[in-house]
Subunit: 469 residues, 4 copies
């Protein structure tokens, strides 16, 4: 078989065409090398190597002189990478070998002492954990921004009334602020999950070496501390075979993505001409040169779709890890792309959603108008019958049903019935009943803890502000 | 269309045949009713109703007399269900209506007061949360049992040596106790996740009513407290539209299932005649009447496979929840079967795995024999060169490679080389090198924190015992 | 450990409580036995056994006398099962052992000859394939019913105009018949897929025995023929380790389920008060005793949700099969529940969707009214500029944009502009332009093959009728 | 908010850091633009545009002169892209706009006529279909190569005996050629599926325009023909909203990936020192500078893992499509990356697996040695009892069990028992029984169609060669 490099243009053909002519060496290099994606770990890799080097010096496993050369050299490698003056080569497989190889060029033989008492197995586990920890922290901040946007919008709309839906059918009137705060709760749980996951991953695998630990007198507690880990991991085999931290990050992202997708779906529906509850500006929509009034909610649709991508990444990594014998198998190299891609999608979603929440204009009038049918205060009537007339709830339901049927026949809403008409169904009804039949009275009455009444919403807003941190 | 009941025998044909003759009423009843699976919530449903009733009494929303009737009646319903004297009927759709309907038969009109200030939406959320909370607690206990089995076995096998694998190729010698403790770490993280999830779900949705809260003067803090929830949920819309608690339970179960599947895979491989590292007894294998020596590790294989089922359940519920507008949509009725089925599979896996860990006989001799090839102490040799001769690690690697090549050529293991032979490769090597070439000395030397040395393993066992709770 | 049967009531507690007290024997029995779900294979099992027995007789591997006893006995077992006079016992593990055990009770020693030249491995593969083949055939018929419902409804609504949406924003007017026929195309592809899958699975594994074939002079072609298989499978190892047929069935069901979910989503949106495009009757909605006008589209929501369940089943089985060494592993026992459950969900969805399509009332007026804003004929205007004035399309786009902006400013739709006003933008526009600005003329003009014009739709309906088979 | 471009270095920080400072415009551009991944469609896009242009000329919708300019211009754009002289700009969103924009620069206003009677919706559907069709064809060829490798290796190893496993326990002796041919069958089904999928997707969406068809007198049959599609699609809404072809491609790839993962798992197990059934050369393994004898089967492990990635892609796109209303939603932009990535992973797997099958060295001696325990011919003994002594199979099983127990007690294999010893269990046994107790006689006897006998395997090889096309 020929082993010439595939030189066809990018595109499907090069991908496939290359296959038939490529010799084994190339296929192996292509399937095996990870530098194309793991190069983004360069910062974490150098951070970890410096911590390891400092520990080796302190434990007198390497000399202070060699150690110093290594530390200075690593800084230089980092600068070169960040300056864009760094050459990547798939023959060097991964970021770890790239860094070490360049270090050797810079400082010579001393570079060969850096890998004492460690292995690529614990090194990559450490690098990847550091990356996921960083991503978690940044995700947490991003969600904090989204919470702030929601709370601000909720406060502004604490009194705005719209239909509360079940089955996309009007059920009871609610306030828009209250609706937005439901998402505040979801994202609060997401942030809690992120923090728990971060706390759990925060043990340092460095020093587990290949899988068995090492005979060098290393101090894993020091390395852990200097990398801001809570402690070293307790079992060296587990240290190199564990990818729970990526799985848990992807789980948290997947659940959060379902929340984002629900809000995105609502934004799409609310933006339709038929609902017309909100308008998004040009900032988060795309138009059409031919229909300038058109505001396609592309960003919301993409946020909705990204849930598929993120859940796909979780599924993918769960499948990869299923049934793998200890300690390290090359299958685990599939951990990174799924995680990087999902984190990227997740970041875009939260940023776009934060923008859209701030950007949306609320059509208060259209929302209110949508409550003006569907006997949306029927539950309020039933509750009045229970509260004032002392009926059992099930009986009150039945009476309300008859009154709704009467109104439907007459072609009016419940408050369009006269007292006389009502009394034909239930003689004890009094004029007082009309006080509960407006949507304003309905929402105002729901002051139970967590309820939709504006005063409750404002209390929830206040509490939310103090809960955001 | 005819609407006769499908009376064909069970099996594929009845399932399908019924479809064509069934009238809409039956199709609707079949797709809509949940009683077939939600009846297992009866305990939680009655528990929740009693708490709600007690609160209604205390808040004087219903009379003490009616309340007492309801409480007594609910107890009777529970007894009837547990005694098996209860009739289910798909026309009554779900467990909530079954309980209320029977309560009405027993106590009459007062039963109609129980549903005051609540709705099926907050009721089912409460019931299901209570169920998931119970399942989490029981899962936690089950995992505790598995941890104990692992620690016990690890202690017994702290000195047993076997090859530590990467890529299923021998890498370095390790101890079997150490290997088992890697799983202890995984299950510790799983239990931590379970507890975090439990803490997070522990807010009570009862009192959210349909979605907007209620105008009745309920006390949600009391209900929450009497059901052992930390607090009431803060937003009524979120309360009825949230299924995070099930998603998180399934995420935790999925990650744990990958751990179980890894151990199961190892048990299958270890049980093969070619490895022969362990034997399972008849208790957890199936035999064959024709090959009585055969011990098929069926239980391990099923444990491995259940990961697919549990991950499938997680995927399924994530898909169901994706893009659902607030507050309640009937799609959410798909939450229960996935969760119940996964919890059941999970329980079986943990129970079977606990049994297998205790049941396995360790073939110490075969394990040790497996280390006697593959130059498994090559890393020890390299480390000796670094430690004693002060070589840079990368150079030591190179020298070791040459020594291995020499041994391979001679057809012996590393300790089969003479000192003279070694010195042809590296003149500074001394007799002392032979002290690190046995598997016993190798494992004994790896005393870094979390390492495989028997003394470290015993320290880890001790720590593990105090960490189990 | 005690080994008493778990006698606690059904529910979470029995599930879990049983675990701790159960001895290994019970755990093993619980995780290992499949009779609870594979009993629905009884028909296929007996069908396969009869075919096998007839071949054994013909090949003189067993005597005609013994063979006759077996055939008669198998019929009796089938009758007992169908009459409900059959005792199941988890100690007998699966349906195959149940049938053989009962056969032995009925006919004695001759029953022991039935298993000559076969094994449970080829037997279960055959049974399960027969079941999937039956399910495919029934699914195909069900989809045929749904196609008929769609075509009938499309023909009735070939002239009904509604907005065609992209991004849930009005784009161009279309006809409702045309919209429904889009689903006809999807289900046509689904049926094609089902048939291809059926053709592919239609090879008979019986005679592969445990995995290696057999030394008895069997005739696999005869068995295949008598079970209506195209041919025997070509490799005995593959025969017992293959579950492609279930995976492909689940893939087809998953893709079809996304189609169902899309139509379900549209039904939910169309049924909202804000869209009001259709009404579902009581038959496929649930109401509320308190809001009798409410028609919750529960059946549509459940159809939408079942996609999650079916995709979950596919994911689950793909995971189970991933990485299994040949030939048979017990993991494969997880194949059936996923497939049975998905087939059941699939059947319910198609039946309910067929019912809903027939049941829906089309609100022609509301659909039409929804087209009366949004400059929905802007593309028609641009096309007129290209066709009549010979403008390049991109220029025509630009002119149309200016005209829409003018109309928006004036507060009218495009046909509300005067010719003079139009000519201020583009002088060459003539009176003829108004002929393309109504929604009626717009849809009527789209007569390209597959277009939305009523005449095209009727042609498509005619073609569809001839394509349904 | 500031709207400065994110200028931080690549890596996690830039990803996240950019978010907070980025203005809405940038977030929207980032989430909305597809040019980064859809640029690989350039070939298909230009191919489709040329076919569309030729049809417009023939139908006299545009002039021959303009048409000619467009055709020449498109060829120039293609050349520029392939020469690497093409500038990409996310402001131009996607490949379609890039091509048209560059075309306008080259040929001026005539370029604006190309988009007559089409829209981006039908254009992208056409481009993507063409890509998937190409990928299917190339995949089919790649699988053909793998089949050839398997058949060649099978022919060479038709007589090599190894244990056939169930549950990774020895069951019956088989031949290695037979084992490899099991995979031939799997990949044959995969290719069948690919071809069915290709045939099904082979309808041309071009001319569906935005969603409703067009009023221009286009000839969709001509366009379809010139792009080698069987026919135009029958419904314009379906044409732009359908992504079945990608879903089906991913389903086929997922099922095939499970086959690859099974063979990969076997290669990993066979390569272990404990099995030692095969050796992979350096070409498809990675070594270690310190343990030169080590051959880590990285390529096999990566092939096993890619199943996770491909299944994840399928799951992801199924989720994206679930519940999308017609016709086009931006969610559908998520279709491409999943498909491209899975196709890439798939191609790598098949190439690597083809290489490994050819590369492996078969350790005939070790395979045979592995059959020398475990009473692997017990079934042959039982079959002899049935065939020669006329025992019912179940009785023969019982007798065999007793003989195995006897041999186990004596510490020998079955052929180590004397005739006298055998007759203590069953008096009628004769010397002839020993003729069936060797593994050679065992495999030679299994001549049933598809069985493991070398002569059968060679017949299967012959048939396989004629089936490969």
């Amino acid at each position: 078989m020929a082993s010439e490099k595939d030189t066809s243009p990018s595109g499907a053909n090069s991908l496939w065409g290359g296959r038939f002519e490529a010799g084994p060496a190339e296929i192996m290099e292509k399937i095996n090398a990870s530098i194309d994606f793991d190069k983004i770990l360069y910062g974490q890799d150098i951070q970890g190597s410096k911590a390891h080097c400092q520990m080796l010096i302190k434990q007198e496993i390497i000399s202070a002189e060699d150690g110093e050369k290594i530390l200075v050299g690593l800084d230089q490698v980092k600068e070169e990478i960040e300056a864009g003056n760094f050459t990547y080569d798939t023959a060097l497989e991964d970021i770890h070998m790239h860094v070490e190889s360049r270090l050797t060029e810079i400082i010579g033989d001393a570079a060969g002492r850096l890998h004492t008492a460690r292995s690529r197995n614990d090194q990559v586990a450490t690098d990847f954990k550091l990356w996921v920890r960083d991503a978690s922290d940044q995700m947490d901040q991003a969600l904090c921004g989204l919470q702030n946007a929601l709370v601000t919008k909720a406060e502004q709309n604490a009194h705005v009334i719209l239909p509360g839906f079940t089955h996309l059918q009007s059920a009871q009137p609610i306030t828009f602020g209250h609706h937005l705060l439901a998402y505040f709760e979801m994202f609060t749980r997401d942030r809690d999950r992120l923090r728990d996951a971060r706390e759990r991953l925060n043990e340092c695998p460095l020093g587990a070496a290949a899988l068995a630990g090492t005979s060098f007198p290393i101090d894993r507690f020091q390395t852990a501390k200097s990398l801001n880990f809570r402690a070293p991991t307790a079992n060296s085999l587990d240290s190199v075979s564990d990818r729970d931290f990526a799985l848990e990050f992807l789980s948290v992202a997947s659940i959060c993505a379902t929340h984002v997708s629900r809000l995105a779906e609502e934004i799409v529906i609310w933006s339709s001409a038929q609902f017309n509850f909100i308008n998004l500006s040009d900032k988060f929509t795309t138009g059409s040169s031919i229909m300038p009034q058109k505001r396609n909610p592309d960003a919301a649709e993409l946020c909705r779709a990204k849930a598929g991508r993120i859940i796909g990444a979780l599924t993918s990594l769960l499948i990869v890890m299923k049934g793998l014998p200890l300690a390290y198998s090359k299958d685990m190299q599939e951990d990174k792309e799924a995680t990087f891609d999902a984190a990227n999608a997740f970041a875009l979603c939260i940023a776009a959603m934060t923008g859209m929440v701030g950007d949306m204009t609320v059509n208060e009038r259209a929302m209110k108008a949508s409550t003006q049918n569907g006997f949306i205060t029927a539950t309020d009537l039933a509750d009045w019958l229970v509260r004032v007339l002392g009926m059992p709830f099930r009986n009150a339901h039945h009476v309300t049903g008859s009154l709704v049927a009467l109104a439907e026949k007459k072609g009016c809403d419940l408050d369009g019935l006269t007292l006389d008409e009502m009394q034909t169904v239930e003689a004890k009804i009094t004029q007082d009943v009309f006080s509960v039949l407006t949507v304003e009275s309905s929402v105002a009455s729901r002051i139970s803890f967590g309820g939709t009444a504006p005063e409750q919403v404002l209390a929830q807003v206040k509490a939310a502000k103090s809960r955001i941190k």
